[in-house]
Amino acid sequence: MIGAKARKRHVFETLLVVLWLAGVVLLLWRAGTGGRAVLSGRHVELVSEPRLALAQWEKWKVRGRVLFLFDRYLNAEQRDGPPDADNYVYLGIKNGMVREIYHVVPDGAWDEVSRTLGRSRWAAAPGKTFRLAIEEGAPVVIARLRDIPLTGETALVNLNADLWSEEQLEDIVRMLDEGRLRSDLVTISGRMPGKILREFEAWNEGR
């Protein structure tokens, strides 16, 4: 049997530990949310190449963000130096601007992508998506447009318009317009049909 004094000590120490743990969780939650810099309003930036999105993220001083990348390749080759087409997403991670990537792959490339990832021992395949973790533990979810898991968090969007049909681009605009995919900074490269481009530009005018 344990005495009343020992019981009191146990209760006191247990409460102390629970309070301390709650403090740890609160501290980490604050550190996590405090590590994200989100813009007010919606901004659309037209760039000549996908890699120039990095300069826009720098210009707008975004931090700790989810990126929806509409492109064929992840462009996250682990290479320091000046940003190019293959490493700019990696530099975005390395410089603390991007923390998680949703890589939306064009339908035409999906067979090849899913075949490669299906064979990889590093990729998990929950549902109709694949999940990888790259440098710095940054998660990458790879999916087709129709299967994108939406996070509810305001994200960066980098769209290589050359790879998507007009219909798909309209779908993307609709997702953004309806708030199913929320974004404060959309960077667009490639050729964009005028009608859709005007919709995007209207965002800048309306902000």
Binding site: H10, E13, V17, W20, L21, W29, G35, A133, E135, E136
Partner: protein, 411 residues
């Protein structure tokens, strides 16, 4: 504790410290990763990033390394002194644990000496590898837990905090944690000390504190905008990647062909390596080897300890056996390669069992101080013989011929 035992323990500690300090700043093959971890520590503390290291291992090692650097300077001594000191202090912690478990200082001193001269422990105590501090914190945690079990301590909080530090260094301990908590609750129940308050206290100390410490060490990473949900998914990703790792994923060609099956550790003499320099009648070698005269006694010694623990209802010894079993089985059953340096975390148990076995045999057959002294001297001489070979110093080829030819290091 008698004065003579105190002197012996101090001498063992000095031996451990000396073997780990000598040539600490020299380049050695087993220190090749140190620079990577040093750079990663800076990157982690400043940016919450793990490069150039892998992100799949817990990051407390970076914080510990930074503390060592702040104390001893940003140089080879500063980086490695944490392992030198904690590795040497592990010898002392093992003595304390051995004396507590077997109520016998002689077992504790013999186990401490075996660890002081253990080739793998000596080598990695002069690097920045996390196995060394993890083992130190784990042993101290166990010591405090055993003291609590015996009613010599009222609180488990220090045990939990130390376990948390071990847990935050390497993923070796989840099964040990489960075994420890179950064992503790069963022992408290048997003693009539289990109540809702003591059960909650044990869970808070041994589960919540380690979890909290583990979480806290990810603070720099989480500052990059991550949520706790993302943290848990990252841990799942790391686990998946670790499980999928094969020998081919290791960069070092030396390790790719090194012994990597934990099932061999205690049933085969393991001597692996290659020659790196030949200077007349002497040579230098990269060697990774078990202290096989002792390691091969592990299984009989563990069985002997189990028998004695059962007969004498020695719960401390039973706990040590349970922890050794779960920790060793995780290595033996895992699919990924397990190299010899991972054995460091189970070696304290090995040395406790072997020391208990040998000291008990001596007592059984009337061995007095002379036989005990002979055992310690023989162990010491063997350790000093191996020391230059495993620390990549030039050794006489003829003097080491049997060992070198057995390990295939020379033709």
């Amino acid at each position: 504790m008698k004065a003579a035992e105190r002197y012996m323990l101090f001498a063992v500690f000095l031996l451990a410290l000396g073997m780990r300090l000598w040539g600490l700043a020299d380049d050695r093959w087993y220190r090749a990763d140190d620079r990577v971890i040093v750079d990663a520590a800076r990157n982690y503390i400043e940016h919450g990033h793990f490069k150039p290291d892998d992100w799949i291992h817990p990051p407390f090692k970076y914080l510990l390394l930074r503390a060592s650097e702040m104390l001893f300077g940003d140089n080879a001594y500063g980086w490695r002194m944490k392992n030198v000191l904690l590795g040497s202090l592990t010898v002392f912690a093992l003595f304390l644990l051995g004396r507590e478990l077997f109520s016998d200082s002689r077992t504790g001193i013999a186990a401490a000496l075996f660890l002081a001269i253990e080739p793998v422990h000596v080598m990695y105590s002069t690097t920045v590898y996390e196995e060394i501090p993890a083992t130190f914190f784990f042993l101290l945690s166990l010591y405090f837990t055993v003291r609590y079990l015996k009613g010599k301590r009222q609180s488990l909080l220090p045990a939990g905090a130390l376990f948390g530090l071990a847990f935050a260094l390497k993923w070796y301990y989840p099964f040990a944690l489960a075994a420890l908590v179950l064992f503790l609750l069963a022992a408290l129940r048997r003693d009539g000390r289990l109540s809702w308050s003591s059960g909650a206290h044990a869970a808070a100390a041994l589960v919540l504190i380690p979890c909290g410490i583990y979480l806290l060490t990810y603070y720099p990473w989480i500052r990059n905008g991550y949520s706790l949900a993302e943290f848990f998914r990252m841990q799942a990703d790391a686990y998946r990647i670790l499980q999928a790792s094969g020998a081919d994923t290791f960069v070092s060609a030396f390790f790719r062909s090194a012994p990597s099956d934990a099932r061999d550790w205690f049933i085969r003499p393991l001597v692996y390596g290659r020659m790196t320099g030949l200077h007349g009648t002497t040579g230098q070698f990269q060697v990774l080897m078990s202290d096989f005269p002792v390691w091969l006694l592990t299984l009989p010694a563990a069985l002997f300890t189990a028998w004695r623990a059962f007969r004498e209802k020695n719960r401390g010894a039973a706990l040590a056996l349970a922890l050794f079993a779960v920790m060793y089985l995780q290595f033996a059953l895992i699919r990924r390669p397990m190299f010899l340096y991972s054995a460091i975390v189970v070696l304290p148990f090995v040395y406790l069992f072997v020391a208990f076995f040998l000291v008990s045999l001596m007592k059984r057959y009337g061995g007095g101080p002379w036989s005990y002294g002979t055992l310690l001297s023989a162990a010491g001489v063997w350790g000093l013989y191996l020391y230059p070979l495993v620390t990549e110093r030039a050794v006489s080829l003829s003097f080491y011929a049997p060992l070198l030819s057995w390990g295939g290091l020379v033709q």
